[in-house]
Amino acid sequence: MLAVDVKNIKKTFVTKQETVEAVKDVSFQVEQGEIFGLLGPNGAGKSTTILMLTTLLSITKGEASILGLDIVTKDKEVREKIGVALQDTGIDNLLTGKELFFTTCRLWGYSKKDSEKRTMELLELVGLTEAADRRVKTYSGGMKRRLDLGLSLVHSPDILFLDEPTTGLDPGSRRVLWEEIKRLRDNGVTIILTTQYLEEADELADRLAIIDEGLVVAEGTSDELKASIGGDVITFSFENDSDLKNAKNVLNDAIEDKDQLRITVENGAAKIPSFINDLNKNGIIVSSVSASKPTLDDVFLEVTGYRLEGSAGTDSSNELEVK
């Protein structure tokens, strides 16, 4: 049985002023026990998709099921199966970590004794035992995220929805959370996470879907998506705008990316001399050139026509400076 089965879901918000199609057409399937990533920029429709799948938002059109349960007609049963840590789900800052876990355990129906036991287990799991009696307002951003993750695990859900779990965290805290997410996956929990970080999607997701403007524009494993581009990515930089413009006429298949040209070919490193020759013949001076294996960043550029804000750019391996 599929963990998550989403078929052509759509979400339209209608107000007096405007109609917004937040999710136009999203479909994907998630197998049990895998981490599935939804990658996309802000406003792409990732969080809206998660809100619909977690039964917090109605679906305008389409259908979806969680472990075979329809999320519209079986929403109560669905909530039993899922854990949710959304971007805007709050944590009560005036309570201690221990009190929050205990309260949440009681709300899930555990007895007082079982709640105490489960509280200690979860504090240990997310590494907050020492901070258990401190009020949450004294926690760092990373600790709050771990607490949030822990709270979503109280009832041992089969499926966990994490909406941008590491946004705003420093690299160290991010890595700690990644390890915890992987450990959960290894323990059999299916995880659906949204992210706008390419590195995170690459590191965590067994499979991922790239969402842009409410549509799934690519789907597969990270390697499949990179392979779909075909070959290596060669990046050319030029002395001036004029050379860049002229080079576009020589390298017809190249994509302009800021002040660079990028072209994807088989055996990229071997073909660099021939490209440079062609450009030189046309009086174009190449200031630097590099060949690299495609990254998710390249995939994103290929399928959307633009880069994710703050993305790292191409892998610097095989880079060849030409002077």
């Binding site: 917090l56 805007d88 005036l94 309570l95 309260t103 949440t104 009681r106 709300l107 555990y110 007895s111």
Partner: protein
């Protein structure tokens, strides 16, 4: 591990959580708690000289020589406004995203809505109880005996639940804690469009008319009857009727608005 999701356990857990929140920010709560007690002293100090013991035997002796008995209900009624904190507590949860977390869990919607109202009611009881205690210490002495304090407290509780319901409705509608707070100020004038400082017979013109249509009038008169007059059952009945009607109307509004708030967009 066994699982028992009783509505009452959920309500109790959520209420306890909210009580902890209230207790842990005393600077935000204490001023409200003592302000009505402060006004009791002010009213007694400023007006007690005119309408109190020295007015005994004159037409200004509204309180049979004990002005504190006469003015205590005004402080109690204004303390009941603190039930309005319920709406603010609920909206704080909406603003912080805690409300959404609870929505994603199989928790009774009613428990989520009733918990802040419980805390609002507890707050009214605490505040009114404190004022009654101070009143007792400075000479309040219901003519029907100490049971009068219980009757006053019961009326305050029902009246406070009314404000709790109103503030929840206003808070959910406005979507902000400031909105919930601002909406409750609408009721502040109601305290003064009533026989606050003198009996209703002494009010003239438009104020007399306004007081006749103001439910606060009947609540104050109900409390005052057991403090000053004795067992005047018709006055007491009107007081409970006004408070209960107000509570039923506002709780209905709260339920309607809360239902809309918990519906999926």
């Amino acid at each position: 591990m066994e699982s028992n999701r009783s509505f009452f356990v959920q309500l109790q857990v959520l209420t306890k959580r909210m009580v902890l929140r209230v207790v842990r920010r005393p600077l935000a709560e204490l001023p409200n708690l003592i302000i009505s007690a402060f006004f009791l002293f002010v009213y007694d100090g400023a007006l007690g000289g005119v309408f109190g013991g020295t007015a005994s035997g004159t037409p200004f002796d509204f309180a049979n020589g004990n002005f504190i008995n006469f003015i205590l209900p005004v402080s109690i009624v204004s303390a009941s406004l603190s039930g309005a904190a319920s709406g603010i507590y609920l909206v704080e949860d909406i603003e912080s995203g805690v409300f959404k977390r609870y929505q994603s869990m199989p928790i009774s919607r009613w428990a989520i809505i009733l918990a802040p109202m419980n805390v609002g009611a507890l707050r009214v009881l605490l505040q009114a109880g404190l004022i009654l205690l101070i009143g007792k210490l400075i000479g309040a002495d219901p003519v029907v005996g100490n049971v009068g304090f219980f009757i006053v407290l019961s009326l305050a509780f029902i009246w406070g639940m009314g404000f709790a319901g109103y503030s929840v409705a206003a808070g959910v509608k406005s979507g902000s804690s400031q909105g919930a707070q601002a909406a409750t100020f609408l009721f502040f004038p109601a305290i003064f469009l009533a026989p606050t400082f003198v009996p209703r017979e002494q009010l003239k013109g438009w104020l007399e008319t306004a007081a006749a249509y103001n439910p606060t009038t009947y609540v104050i008169e109900g409390m005052r009857s057991v403090m000053v007059q004795g067992w005047e059952l018709d006055i007491l009945f009107r007081g409970f009727l006004a408070a209960t009607s107000f509570a039923v109307i506002t709780l209905t509004l709260a339920v309607i608005s809360a239902r809309k708030a918990t519906e999926k967009a």
